[in-house]
Each structure stands twice: as C-alpha cells, then as structure tokens.
Symmetry: C2
Subunit: 377 residues, 2 copies
C-alpha cells in the first residue's frame, strides 16, 4: 500500500467505523439550572404535533408521510393508525396538527388538519375522527379552507379549543394578494363550533362593505403562515406565532376581528432585502405584533408552560425554532415580552412540535426524527 | 532531522511566522445588510467612554489607567490629557464616564466621573473641568456620592444631561443593605443642576417618614450597577441599563421618584442559583423593568441610535455586551421591546462603550484595546 492509498483509506474509510448511533441524551445549561434531553422515540419523519392521551400515551404526527403514530414513551411501542384519510403528501403538505376535543374522555373526538388536493391545486382541511382498534373508525369534515394554491407551502393548520369553540389557522398559501381579501380564507384564523357550524357572533358576519363580502368563518386576518396557536391557561387569551418574511416572524395576541397586517405592514424584508408591502410597521386599523424575531428563527409550535417539572419556566412561552434549532423561551409580563432565552441550541435539530405531559416534562419533536423529553438535571 | 523533530518544528515554530498583527477589519451580517468594523484606534486600556467633540475628534476614557485620551480618528493621533485629578485605579475603579455640557461650545465644561478613595474605602465622584493646552486647566467637584465601600466594584458613574439638569448613576457598591435605605446614595440615580446644586423639586425632598431621611439629590433608587444611561432623542425619556445579578440585567425607563426594586425584587438569581431578595419580580410601589437579559449579557454603554449611516437602525437601542461580546440592538415600540438582534458577535471583544459621530457611524470601545468604527458594506 503506497502512501496515497493509505491517505485515501484514512479519509474515506475510517469514518465508516464510527458508530452510526448518536448518543440518546444531551445535557444543556440554562439560566435556571441544567437539564437533560433524552430521546424517548426515534425514526419519526417531520413530527409536526404531539398530543397526549389521558392514559399517558401520545399521538405523534409524521407530517410528510401523513401518519398518526400512537407512541407509548415508556415501552417505546409505536403503532401507526390505520384507515387514514387520503391527503396530499408533497413539499410542505401532509398532516399538520392533532388536538383532542376538550371532552375527549366522553365523546372520543380527535381533530386533525391536513393538506388535500393535487400537487398543483391544494388547500388545508380540518376533520374530526374517532379511533377504534388502532384505525380511524368514524370521520367528519369540520372545515375546508377556501385557500387553494398551485404550490404546496404555507398551510398553517393549527387547532385550539377555547370557550366551547375551535380555532383553526390557515396560511397565506404564498398568495399575498388573497390575504386582505376577506372573501377567501387565505392568511386567517377561523372560529367554529366543535361540529363545524359557524357561530352567529363571528366578527365579519353581516359586514358587507364596498371592499368585499367576508367569509363568516373568519375570526382574524392578515396572517402569513401561523404554525403556533395556544390558549393561555391563566388568562384564556389566544396567542399565535407565525412565519413572517425574513426578519418578520411574529408573536401575536389574537383579538376578535383584528387584522394582523400581512402583507401590508411587516417588520420583515423580502429575502433580497427590499421592503415588504408599504415598507411600514404600523397602520391605522391594523393590529400590532407583540414580538418579532430578528433575525427570523422560523417559529413552529407554541406552548405556554404550566408544568411542575420546571418551576422557573411557569408561564413562559415555549416556541420551537426550525431555522435556529433551539427551544425559544419568552417571558411576558403585562402583555409584553421582557426576556428571551434560547434553550438546547443546536444538538436536538429543527424543533417542529412541543408538548407537556401531566408531570410537566417537555417533549420536543425534531426533524432529526426523535422525540426529546426534557427533565431537570 | 528526524520525523519527531520535524513535527516539533511544525507545531511549535511554524505559528511564529504568522503575522502577529490581527486583521484590522471584520465583516458581519445583520438583518438589514452586511457591515464592516474597522479598527480606528488601538492600544487602549478598558475604553469606558467615547465622547465626540464638535471638531470630530473624540475623548476616549481608559478606565483602569485613569487617562482621558484625545483621539483624532482620521490621523490616528492620540494625546493623553495632563493634570488629571488623583483617582483610585484598582479592580473596577478608575475613570467611568465623560460627557460634554450641552453648551460646551460656549462654556467649555466637560463632566467626568471616577473612583476616589483608598482600595479599602472608595466611592464615585463627579467633577466638571476645562481643558487647555492638552491639560486640565480648571476643575470643580459637582457631586461626591455617599456610597463608600471596602471593595472596588459597582460604581455606576454614567452622566447624562437632559432638560437643563445632569443625571448621574451610582452603583450599589455591593452593599445591598444600603440600596433601599434612602439616607445614602448607593444604587441610585441622582439629579442636579449643572453646577451641582440640588433642584428644589427633586422627588425625595421633604420626605421624612418613619423609614429614613432621604438624600435630596436622589431621583430614583433600587439600582444595582447602572452602566448605561441615555436620553431618548425623540421623547426626552431617560433610559437606563444595569448589571443585575445572574439573569437579571435590566433595561429601565427612568421615572421621577421611582424605586427599581433592587435587591427586593429581581428577575435574576444568586450565582449559586438561589433566589434573590424575596424571590419575586413584582411588588407594590416598585417599578417594573422593560427588558431583562436571560442569560445575562453584562450590558455596558447605551445609545439610542438616530444616525443616517444605518437607516434601518434608527430608533434602536444599542447596548454593549461585555460578557457575550456583541453589540445588542433592541427595537422598542410603545415602550416595550419587540425585537432583539445581536450584532458583531465575538470578534470585536467585550464592548464597553458606544458613540455615534455626526455622519451616523458607530464607534465601539472594546476591551481588546481597539475602537471599532462600523460602516455599512
């Protein structure tokens, strides 16, 4: 063996003997003490939502392959739910969210959102379903957004229950021209009864001015791609985070009938650096954001933490970061962000989903394929 | 030469042929475009303040060696001012700030703050002086803080003029027990006429309750180590940032007679992780902070940017970070921080002072010994 071949061996062959298995735990420092992230499930594809069942198991969505996977984190058992609806699985389409009905223990209803249509003509739809013997046994359409696009981006799709209603987010589908047009659902949050009926006191019902004829389902408008939605456990307020343009990722307090300004006003810039819309951040009649990430972190899921395991984080807003691969913690007081901390940077991968179990342990779904469980050291 | 000696040569000798001179420019990305930092002065020791003169030259303080250095950034000429007052130069003591009187062009007054006393018994004092032929020609004591300590930490020492008054910050001198006691000046901001007289409408004048007899110079209390102080160019509000405990670095809007809570209330923790004071963040009669850095960045100087060179940063709060070695940019709206950006991370060193010249270029004094001038790429 000559030297050249020896070097080739070293460069190209040696790495292959390194174990393929990454360590399944990482230790991180935080302002309020160290914590450990343990991998409690792996091999998952784009886990876009984690929803705990009363028995401690959890549904995990695998977005791009369109599977609801029932996982027992104690035994490690994973079961894919059968008889799933037909959906589009392409680019950013797939399964977006899953949420149990507040009375799930009595009625068994599970709400999901997913992309429906063809690669060149799709929208986001919301169903409720029941599961029996590890398969969908019953299913009803709750809402189909009039937010069709020839591309497969910006679906939104988050689901939250509050005060007897269900709130659903719809992305702008990269059709900015449709967002301020209230005669479709692109770039909005809609409010419905749990069976899909439209509440009679929705804000745009009966509004027919020179501008357009608004859809009755609309609750707010002017959003871009809302991927986080959470009801504050103490105040009952609805909070939302959305992917803005470059430098314009927003946290918003959702108010009935409000217009969040996209694409007219934004803190962000076009990816080439130019201004967006009117290049302004404030306009009469449009709602102001509470927080904007500069630079953009690509915020995913949102949870307002109330658990016991991390007492110092009680009341904190936990937001997953796809682009900056960390768990973002915001501290709010009197409706304003007063502190931001970036937790678990780097090692856990792109954080796509967040959930908290009954003991307050935090679960993060990562594009690396793992569900990471956080516990204090 | 055998192989071993060859390797030794490579490892230990080769680096010596690398030029000792570091590059004098760095390029950084930001949300609003790339910018360049050029070293425009070097060899300075702890540059704790930069103050431009009308002719474009600047006074730079060298904290630990107690020098006022007059620098012409165009020619590079540096001149140390002679006939300086005697001061303590030890640990964190030395020269803290320099500020021109608003009518400097007419009256020639320059205000400085520095540590006075012995290593085991010192405080912070404020003088005004005139400079002639590169030496102090005249000097008057404006204020000597009753904030003596046996250690050499937490002096504060920032100076700002506003509305005909001069505002001065005094650190807590690591005597927490003195901060809520209004009969001394530790942990306070004081307000004086420009000649040192006490304004008749200062908030604690005439207040003599069961608690203590407050000093008439006090404007606010409950501060820890305020190293940033700046009058908002548009609103006239006085803003302050201070080194808190671990996880408790604060940005505050300074209001007449307010109590900022140290050490009773704080977002921070003891360095061993335990609670501070009552372990609470809110108490009746104490002012709430606007922003807290988690984790602590060790904020130094504060400037509210109004220059032309970086139009996207207009109105931003620029704060130097000693611990996290970057320039921190906060975006405020309606009195709340809505965005934070970390600029020029790492390469420029611990940022101790900030100034803006007439064209809007930003100057950063670094513990690496350089003054860095920022310009858009």
């Amino acid at each position: 063996m000559n030297l050249f071949r020896f070097i080739l061996l070293f460069v190209f062959v040696m790495p292959a003997v390194v174990p393929a298995q990454e360590p399944s735990s990482h230790r991180f420092e935080s302002e309020h003490g160290a914590f450990i992230a343990d991998s409690v499930a792996s091999g998952l594809s784009q886990p876009s939502a984690i929803e705990f069942l009363p028995d401690g198991r959890a549904f995990v969505l695998q977005r791009d392959i369109g599977e609801i996977t029932l996982i027992d984190f104690r035994s490690g058992e994973q079961v894919n739910i059968g008889n799933m609806p037909k959906m589009l699985k392409f680019s950013d389409s797939g399964l977006h969210d899953i949420e149990l009905h507040p009375d799930f223990a009595e009625n068994g209803w599970i709400y999901i959102s997913y992309s429906e249509g063809e690669e060149v003509h799709s929208t986001v739809v919301f169903d409720r379903l029941k599961i029996k013997d590890k398969a969908v046994s019953e299913r009803e359409r709750i809402f189909s957004a009039d937010a069709f696009s020839e591309n497969s981006y910006h679906y939104g799709g988050r689901i939250q229950f509050s005060g007897g209603y269900v709130y659903l987010t719809v992305g702008d589908r990269q059709h900015r021209d449709k967002v301020q047009d209230r005669s479709n659902h692109a770039g909005s949050i809609v409010r419905l009864h749990d069976d899909g009926r439209v509440p009679a006191d929705n804000p745009f019902i009966g509004v027919e001015d020179e501008r357009d004829q608004p859809r009755p389902e609309l609750w707010t408008l002017g959003h871009r791609n809302p991927q986080g939605l959470f009801v504050h456990p103490e105040t009952g307020e609805l909070w939302e985070n959305e992917h803005g343009p470059r430098g314009g990722d927003e946290l918003n307090l959702i108010k009935k009938g409000a217009n969040y300004g996209w694409p007219e006003i934004s803190f962000g810039f076009e990816y080439d650096g130019g201004p967006i819309g009117k290049g302004i951040v404030h306009e009469e009649g449009m709602e102001q954001l509470v927080w904007v990430y500069v630079p953009s972190i690509a915020p995913s899921d949102l949870v307002i933490y109330q658990g016991e395991a991390f007492p110092a984080w009680k009341g904190s807003f936990l937001i997953g970061s796809l682009a900056f691969v960390h768990l973002n913690r915001l501290v709010l007081r009197d409706g304003a962000v007063v502190a931001e901390e970036r937790l678990a940077s780097g090692l856990l991968g792109r954080i796509r989903s967040i959930a908290v179990d009954a003991d307050g342990y935090i679960y993060l779904g990562s594009d690396g394929g793992d569900i990471w469980r956080l516990r204090p050291e």
